[in-house]
Amino acid sequence: MKNGFFNSKSGIIIVFLIPAFILIGVFLIFPAFWEFYLSMTNESLMGISAVHPQFVGISNFIDVLTDPSFYNSLVVTFIFVLESAIIGQAGLGMLLSLLTYRKKIFRTLVQVVAVLAWIIPDSVVAYLWIAFLDKNAGTFNNLLALLGLARTNWFYRYPLTTIVIFNIWRGTAFSMLMFSAAFDMIPPSYLEVADVMGVSWWRKFKDIIFPNLKRVFFSDLILITLWTFNVFTPYLLTQGGPGTATEILPIYIYLNAFQNFKIGYGAAISVIVLLINLVLASVYFTLSKEKEGISL
């Protein structure tokens, strides 16, 4: 053909795709596969194996799976995800969008404060919560004292509950925005007809709102579950402590790989986390694709 490479269709396609695919390939896809390899070595940042890592087969996995602290992390993570993401963020997000349906001023007000909590950078929100919950001077304990209640060191007395509530505070905005947008897509006439027929609010939710919301609902659940599963922010609040009370898997990986310098071991935990994530994602897909729909 007469035109040069850059004017030909396939030339443009290749040239335009290359930068993105190199970055994605090197910094996203390759690391995932390398992780599998690393998990089968005794790679370390310290000592002899730092120089000459060796292939050790599945022994890292055996170590991980026989380590009680791994199971502690696993349980902590599942509680954290279930309570803060699925029940907390999705539940509160749904509730808020329902309660502010067609109440523009209230919706905007709640959205603005929730979005503020959502967008402030990690290291700032962490300190805001440290300040907010400080036993002696924090705003929350000051309020309790005003009401005549005892001041409490929340990070020590209720560590997991505290980061659960922190994470609800942090992430509800996303679910609320998704659900609110989806509600607004439901033609008002659907709900008006239901009102005329005198349908109860629960049936309205179950028969009209939810079926129209299903896709958004599952996209939201997939995303917030994966995000919460992989969130590192609690580290900035508790470093996993006290003890191992808030040692969710990302913190557990970090501590093993970068504080104990056990790279291979850390990789093995990460591989397990990846697999759990994949299973969770595919469970959601299966559920969302079922024709009959999910009844709550």
């Binding site: 090197v26 309660l99 990690d122 505070w169």
Partner: protein
Amino acid sequence: MNKIRVSSAINYIFLSVVAAFFIAPVIWLFVTPFSNSPSLSISLGTPTLENFGSVFQDPAAIYSFGNSVIIAVGVTLATVICASLAAYIFSRYHFHGSNFLIFILILFSNIVSGTAAMVPLYMLNISLGLINSYLGVILTIAGGGIPTSIFILKSFFDSIPKSYEEAALVDGSSYSQMLFHIFLPLSKKGIIVIATLSFISAWGNFLIPFILLSSQRTYPASVTIYNFYTEMGLPNIGLISAYALLYTLPVIIGYLVVNKIFGFSFYGGIKG
């Protein structure tokens, strides 16, 4: 009638409590930097700008801010260039399974980028000689965010009718003239949104620089703030609060920009 009024009153009380829950921890951020006796409780005392003065006297605070700018601008450039080129192809040339590919990549980026891949990302940066460098941080953050950016840009590009580009070609412009005269100005909004979102996400990123950077001199503000309040000794609350506010402002401004273009419902999918 009464019943409805009671239930709507309960409704409004509940919403007010929730709003208070969201705003309460944040109030401190907007009050303490201006307080002459900064503490962990909220008290303004006599308003002052002294705390900002102490920020500008702290060298770590200043160069960290500069580091954050370098990293965030780098990520923004890398993301905007890579994602808009790729999104253009995905939007304009339909090939089988491209939607599925983007979808898988987004899923992958949500699963892999960040914590679950921190170990191989660290090793990768060592192998590439990028450890403890801005470039390593920039490329690592960009690589994780590009799939979502491609997705958002593609849906934006899809909404621009192809006939503008065709008209330009028929009017005699070459392919590159068409891209610069017609397509780029038309997709400006979408590109601004992606630039803003990737800037915000890189600006706020804590984990990647925390792992990949090892010298204080290279730390961005996210890591420096963390060091401020976890360092030994009494933290300088006035400095931290003022610094935190300055560090947060670009994020708030960025979201206002995105909101102006699309509304908040156009969610910041890059987060995470």
